[in-house]
């Protein structure tokens, strides 16, 4: 449902990302999201990056005018939130999870890391793009890093690092959020290695609540049936890694190769 919350803290995570904390009485689960709004911006979906008692946070990378507007908010300012929406990650006890965050996708997986303490991989372009490292290191049994430029941790991408760690540790299930190209190759690897996975996907949203159908991939609503889809569900999604729909509902193909 719709609510207004006061921001209790703003933390600068790095050069382009800030985390805003607030308190609310919902029953948010790891992997869910809010629709975020305040005057001066379009309402946008944001992963919940902390679920700690009544405390919640969103971690926002500055990529355009709306995220710029969120970055201008200070402690004590008011934020409109709708939600929590979406299904969230399934963290059934007794399974051995590996959790992977790519870039700002790390925001989405962090509550799952903190709820489970599972081994974690954070992938980023460069050392300066790694976010929420302190929280991952506090909560996870092991944290490994990959950077595309080799400036920190494993030199390469998160999927390559996953293959190494999977060979060593034989996880039952991978939980991941990140750019679709990362998730595409991660899904391929999971199918090939026969590891279960739960991937958090993203599409242009309007209602966020499962009514309008703007965010569908094939016939599945990312906002309501997802955003987290299982390996088998993802295998059925013809749009995955191939195309998305713009705000008019027109098909936009992803660049090949």
């Amino acid at each position: 449902m719709s609510d207004h919350v006061r921001i209790i803290s703003v933390t600068e995570n790095n050069y382009d990302t800030k985390t805003l904390e607030f308190v609310t009485d919902d029953e948010a689960r790891p992997g869910q999201f809010y629709m975020i709004w305040c005057p001066g911006m379009e309402e946008i979906p944001m992963s919940i990056s902390k679920v700690d008692g009544r405390t919640r946070s969103i971690s926002v990378k500055r990529i355009g005018p709306d995220t710029e507007r969120i970055h201008s908010l200070k402690e004590g300012d008011v934020l409109g939130i709708r939600g929590p929406y979406g299904n969230g990650y399934d963290l059934t006890p007794g399974r051995k999870y590996l959790i992977i965050g790519g870039g700002i996708g790390t925001a989405s997986i962090m509550p799952a890391v903190e709820a489970s303490g599972a081994d974690t991989i954070i992938g980023a372009r460069s050392e300066r793009d790694i976010v929420l490292r302190d929280r991952a290191e506090k909560a996870a049994s092991n944290v490994w890093y990959s950077t595309d430029d080799g400036s920190f941790g494993f030199h390469g991408n998160a999927v390559q690092l996953f293959r190494e760690k999977q060979a060593e540790n034989h996880y039952d299930c991978v939980i991941a959020c990140g750019p679709e190209v990362m998730l595409y190759f991660l899904h391929k690897a999971c199918v090939e290695l026969d590891v279960d996975c739960q991937l958090s996907l993203e599409r242009h949203m309007k209602c966020g609540a499962g009514v309008c159908g703007c965010c569908v991939m094939d016939g599945s609503r990312v906002c309501r049936d997802g955003p987290v889809f299982t390996r088998d569900q993802v295998s059925q999604l013809k749009d995955f890694g191939v195309q998305k729909r713009d705000e008019c509902g027109r098909i936009v193909k992803f660049r090949k190769g």
Binding site: H4, R82, C212, G213, G219, C248, G249
Partner: protein
């Protein structure tokens, strides 16, 4: 066993519930999903001439008893919608909802929808939040008659007209649609509504106002169908706040030959159709209605 099949004029339906326009019906695959969930037909998203992004977010919020939205008729435009229809029409009945801004646009849109395989067209003369469209045209009886008769002269498929409750002359408008040759009247669209954020001292929706749908509007819709049943002789399709068999039965007893479900897809998911079908059939069995037709309009007698 009571029969759930019904007909809206020449359009026969295996089950009486259809997906209302604007709900999970902008893409071919989602329309197929709704057909598979037990909808007797799917009314497509209202399609206009050109690709349209609709209103900026926020364009939706939940309120007590329903939803308020001002999507602003987003859609890919009639040319591109062909691909979506090609996926959906082989799987079941699709009613092509169209939103033109004038008579000639409605003719073009209806002709295209017929060509794409729509079993009927539904003229959106009732959207309360799209400038120059919908309700801005659909509250003028003379214009309604003109649009309907021109569209009727251009297509062979049945022409349905979806009307707005945001008027005190709904019966006159329905009569104008009938005079124009409409094959059915669909009522109601959403009620013009507003939500204000006290914290920000502003309307919540970017469009400021939108349309209220969901359980809260059901009694308004039932009353509209009840009144229209006395006035027009063409079939009626009831829509507005239907969540369960009881709501559906109310609309049918008020005079509807079939009904549409929209907002309940939020609360109940696409499964709402199979549940309504099962429960409605159970009710009909227990209370001795052997068909939808035998139940239609009985509250008027």
């Amino acid at each position: 066993m009571s029969a759930l099949n019904t007909a809206v004029g020449k359009v026969t339906l295996e089950t009486p519930g259809m997906v209302a326009s604007g709900i999970m019906d902008e893409t071919g695959e989602s329309m197929v999903r709704m057909l598979q969930a037990g909808a007797g037909a799917v009314v497509s998203k209202s399609i206009g001439m050109e690709p349209k992004a609709g209103h900026a977010n926020p364009c939706f919020t939940e309120v007590a008893g329903g939803l308020v939205n001002a999507m602003g008729l987003p859609g890919p435009g009639i040319e591109l919608f062909k691909e979506e229809m090609e996926i959906a029409t082989p799987k079941g009945k699709i009613v092509g909802s169209i939103a033109g801004g004038n008579v000639s646009e409605f003719i073009t849109l209806a002709t295209k929808m017929e060509e794409y395989g729509a079993c009927a067209v539904e003229l959106n003369l009732s959207c309360p939040h799209a400038k120059g469209h919908g309700m801005e045209l659909g509250t003028d009886p003379a214009l309604v008659k003109e649009i309907v008769s021109q569209v009727k002269g251009s297509v062979k498929v049945p022409v349905w007209v979806k009307l707005t409750p945001n008027t005190h002359i709904l019966p006159q408008i329905a009569l104008a649609a009938q005079d124009g040759g409409a094959d059915a009247v669909v009522a109601i669209n959403t009620l013009k509504a507003m939500v204000i954020s006290p914290e920000f001292a502003k309307p919540f929706l970017s469009n400021k106002f939108g349309g209220l749908s969901g359980a809260a509007v059901k009694p308004v819709g039932v009353r509209a169908i009840y009144d229209l049943y006395k006035v027009v002789s063409i079939p009626l399709v009831g829509v507005g706040g239907i969540c369960n068999w009881r709501d559906a039965a109310e609309y049918i007893m008020a005079g509807a030959s079939a009904f549409q479900v929209g907002s309940a897809v939020l609360t109940d998911g696409p499964e709402v159709f199979s549940r309504i079908n099962t429960d409605l059939q159970k009710f009909m069995e227990e209370y001795g209605y052997d068909s939808i037709a035998s139940m239609r309009g009985v509250a008027n007698e």
